[in-house]
Symmetry: none
């Protein structure tokens, strides 16, 4: 195994578990203790981790991702959290629909790459999907400039040819009475259809979307499961009886 591969594995494991034992790394990488020790020394020098007696630990101290404003960084973190959880729902062999939208894009890095099929109307997803070598189909139709989404009659007809195990999408409003809503009627129709073509549908939404209402109705609450974060129990109440909410915690 090549050095960078090992380093990557080590960092990955440390990121997940916080601390790791040397012996675990030896087993994981199938190399000798000496090699692992050398790796840890190097990684510590590069400030990627902290060595501790018996292994190594993640350093929480600091710089993970520079640049990015306060808001968008926090926002992105939230999106990632939600996206990561959503990706965890995808199983090998699934066919899934990814609706256009920046929140949904965040799912892609976490998807299992083998044996899944993705259908999407989101042009912004294409590069990320192809880079991960995921089998990707795009639906045909009119390309809308602002949102880089494929919409319109043709898109509906194109979508009709597929069936999905799961679909993931963002919305602009979630309301106990008015259900899921979005500003553009054409996009609403696509979303609605995608939900109806999926065995399970998931709405990805940060807490600002709750109690909001946008122009075009997509569907009633019960037709999809909501994945969100940081929504306290009090605010969940009006929705809890009408649909399933998964609150992802940090």
């Amino acid at each position: 195994m090549l050095t960078p591969e090992r380093h990557k594995l080590i960092l990955q494991l440390i990121k997940e578990k916080g601390v790791v034992k040397i012996q675990d790394l030896v087993d994981l990488t199938e190399t000798s203790e000496s090699t692992i020790r050398r790796d840890l020394t190097q990684l510590e020098e590069g400030k990627y981790l902290k060595r501790i007696h018996g292994g190594a630990a993640r350093l929480q101290g600091k710089l993970q991702e520079p640049s990015m404003t306060e808001k968008s960084s926090k926002n992105l973190q939230q999106k990632r959290q939600i996206a990561k959880y959503a990706a965890g729902l995808v199983e090998e062999g699934d066919s899934i629909y990814l609706d256009a939208g920046s929140t949904v894009t965040e799912i892609i890095p976490f998807l299992p790459s083998k044996e899944i099929v993705v259908v999407t109307n989101g042009l912004m997803h294409i590069n990320a999907l192809l880079e991960r070598n995921i089998k990707t189909f795009i639906i045909g139709g009119f390309a809308k400039e602002q949102t880089k989404a494929i919409i319109g009659r043709g898109a509906m007809a194109s979508l009709e040819h597929y069936r999905f195990d799961k679909c993931f999408m963002g919305v602009n409003g979630i309301h106990p009475q008015f259900g899921y809503t979005t500003p553009d009627q054409d996009e609403a129709m696509i979303k609605q259809m995608a939900i109806s073509l999926s065995r399970e549908a998931f709405i990805l939404a940060d807490d600002t979307k709750f109690s909001e209402i946008a122009f075009a109705k997509i569907a009633d609450l019960h037709t999809a499961t909501i994945i969100t974060n940081g929504l306290d129990e009090e605010h969940q109440e009006p929705y809890a009886s009408k649909t399933t909410i998964k609150v992802v915690t940090a």
Copy 2:
């Protein structure tokens, strides 16, 4: 195996896996270790990858596309010439089909932006088209990674819904007897269909494409008009009787 082929394979594998071992590349390309080492050295110089002990790794530094070689820059000038002429053929109110491919992309900046409708299977064209506020439809189907083209059965069905005044495409081979050819059969079928759905079809080709034959046949010469440059009269002769050639001059 030819050098550019190997380089392509190497980059492809590295893109997929992040890191590759030299021995894997030797097996993959069925050449010697020496050759692979030389390849890696060259590719590293061109900033396409980073050599590591035992193999090579993808560089995340980012800038992927820029580095244009001597050759491709000259090539680009030719492409632009051809593309500009082709764009001049488009009239207001036309519906046109732009096939996937780098030559065709060059048409976009020269297109009249008002009152035309573009249909394409080329994902690489989308951004340029939307930036110019051109009414754009994309056909649905399987997204092929290497060429960023939409292909397959779905694409054929999707294409079927449209009719065009003109269509523009590149090819890999033009031959008096074997007509227009391209390496990928799926792409050939799409091209063929696009031609048959168009009132007029145009092939954009620099002079290196003449007398070449690729694997999959698209159509006979007479089905399209060839737009090329720098092809002297002597070489035009075998084709002139079978189709129309427009030679663009500098």
